[in-house]
């Protein structure tokens, strides 16, 4: 074991995969000389050279397009589009119409093994265009894989799994997590896409979340434990495909479910999880499923307003207590 921040874990995963597999290369805005705006590729240009770590123009759609073309031609590109997930809005044609559908439209010939990394989430006072949580956009598209890790070891292990996956992966990194430290196993520490992690076992209620909110749910669970409520905390880690069995098995034991995410509540991942549980395990539920998500507003700049927009520990605790 060694201790790394999330940013360091990403960087270590990238470096190890690039050293292992000559087909892997990193391409994006400011990934080379500065080592990435969140320092996730620090030192890689020096170590691996300019044909493996490629700085690009500010051309997000074409960055993803080039990744697709290179992937079909046998490479394993990892790309960044200016760092922020908000900028992926400029790449939606390439991601949704091209990467996600190429294999199907070609009748099973070809694959698009690309990883599109992006920082999402609020909390750093960057206002409405640099703070969104957009996983539901991508998760709605058959053909894409969407990964939202929460710990340094998962960031590394799932990044390696994403790079090795033969499909297009949207790899979402909450920017409040980059400096979170944790133990990372020595060796590659490969994790499996589509498998949730139970962060805490409990008997009264299941809290399902991912990314930064997986941490908030654990804080909420600590507080609730002091009040005699035993929470099971499930970190989905992957949004598409998501681990239905892990959630259903937990709900069959706790009989209560709260789904928490930072993205807006309306029409989000929480709705999908809630609906699935009601379709598959309605008789096991002792209370209606509750969702906790962001309010239906753009992320405001003001610090207090920003904090109150997305789920706080207090709101999670309150939601659990309301279940009765």
């Amino acid at each position: 074991m060694h201790t790394l921040t999330v940013a360091e874990a990403i960087c270590e995963g990238l470096r190890e995969e690039m050293e292992r597999d000559p087909r892997v290369f990193l391409m994006g805005e400011d990934v080379g000389t500065t080592g990435g705006i969140f320092a996730t590729s620090r030192g890689l240009l020096e170590k691996l050279g300019p044909s493996r770590v490629i700085d690009t123009p500010i051309s997000e759609a074409a960055i993803v397009g080039h990744a697709i073309g290179a992937a079909v031609a046998g490479m394993r590109p990892v790309v960044e589009c200016g760092g922020f997930v908000d900028f992926l809005s400029l790449t939606m044609d390439q991601l949704v119409n091209q990467a996600a559908k190429l294999r199907y439209m070609f009748g099973g010939k070809g694959a698009v093994p690309i990883v599109v990394r992006a920082a999402q989430g609020s909390g750093v006072k960057l206002a409405a265009q640099h703070s969104q949580s957009l996983e539901a956009w991508f998760a709605h598209v058959p053909g894409l894989i969407v990964v939202c890790p929460s710990t340094p070891s998962d960031f590394k292990g799932l990044l390696i799994a994403s790079i090795r996956n033969p499909n297009p992966v949207v790899f979402l990194e909450h920017k409040m997590l980059y400096f979170v430290k944790g133990d990372v196993p020595d060796g590659e520490g490969l994790e499996r896409i589509g498998v949730a992690a139970t962060r805490r076992e409990g008997t009264d209620v299941t809290l399902v979340s991912y990314s930064l909110m997986a941490h908030r749910c654990q804080e909420a669970a600590d507080l609730l434990a002091q009040r005699g409520v035993s929470c099971e905390v499930i970190d989905l880690r992957t949004i598409r495909p998501w681990d239905r069995e892990a959630v259903l098995n937990s709900v069959r034991r706790t009989h209560r479910l709260v789904v928490v995410h930072e993205a807006v509540k309306t029409l989000g991942v929480g709705a999908e999880v809630a609906a699935t549980v009601m379709e598959e395990a309605f008789d096991d539920l002792d209370a209606p499923v509750v969702r906790v998500g962001a309010h239906d507003i753009p992320i405001p700049f003001n610090e207090t307003l920003e904090r109150e927009t997305t789920p706080t520990v207090e709101r999670i605790v309150e939601a659990v207590q309301k279940l009765g």
Binding site: G65, H66, A70
Partner: protein, 330 residues
Amino acid sequence: MASAKGLDGLPAAKWVDLYTIMVRIRLFEDRLIPLQQKGAIKGTAHPSVGQEAVAAGVCGVLEPTDYMVSNHRGHGHCIAKGMRTAGMMAELFGRRTGSNKGKGGSMHIADLDQYIIGATGIVGSGAPIAGGAALAAKLQKTGQAVACFFGDGAINQGVVFEAMNMAAIWQLPVIFVCENNLYALSTPADKMTALRQLADRAQGFGIPGVHVSGNDLRAVVRETRAALGRARAGEGPTLIEAKTYRWYGHSAMRPDTRSYRTREEELEWREKDPIALTRCVLSEAGILTDTKSAEIERSIAAEIDAAVEFAEGSPQPTLDEMFTDVYAPF
């Protein structure tokens, strides 16, 4: 017999091949509209009849392992790059024996085994994908080049600009082929750009831009070979604007052209039939006799008959096949 002396440094047999490709495209596409109207071909199809010299002149001089990225008007490009007409016709019929198992249709017809990366139906979106394939070729030092087709409509798409710029700064082995057939569906190209020649766009990216008659096979071949030479020498991309004309409507679903084109203009361009022009040139060069060209036409007509028959006799995909090929296994 035809002379074996060749033309413009290419052997006679190569020119006969290119001519045959043009005839194959013409006869394949001449079938589409009646078959679509009959209901045999589902959805839509965008015929490129009248533009055959561009597809044949570009793809015909690529190596088999060079990549090609096509667009919605892509049958000709795919035929010229080596796809079989039987599999293509079956695809247009939506059958499981189709080149894309009936899951792509006309707009996405492609075959990676022939180094064809799409057919995309989103105008201009193939340009960065072509650049990516070229980047892979450059990084892996394979010596492959990439031909990327798009139309005069796509020349105004931002992502095409982005791709040309990236190809220029990285000196990627791409040939951007702008088939200027004068209309983006109904919209005249000269009303949508202030340039007289679209090839002049290249100057803005610091890359060579050439304008050729897209109905002149020799000119297309000449400029493609020059661009390929630069690409393989590490000198980067070229924009070729090939001015041509689609004889038919925008698509099988929109066959009418009268609202935006005059009959006179259409007849004028029919006079410049690229196949007739090529036949003339090759016959004057002693490469193609009337007997040989008639023989080519007969044999291709039989091939297309067989393709239609194959498509008609092919099974529909089974319902469980709709769930396959979404993800590569992992």
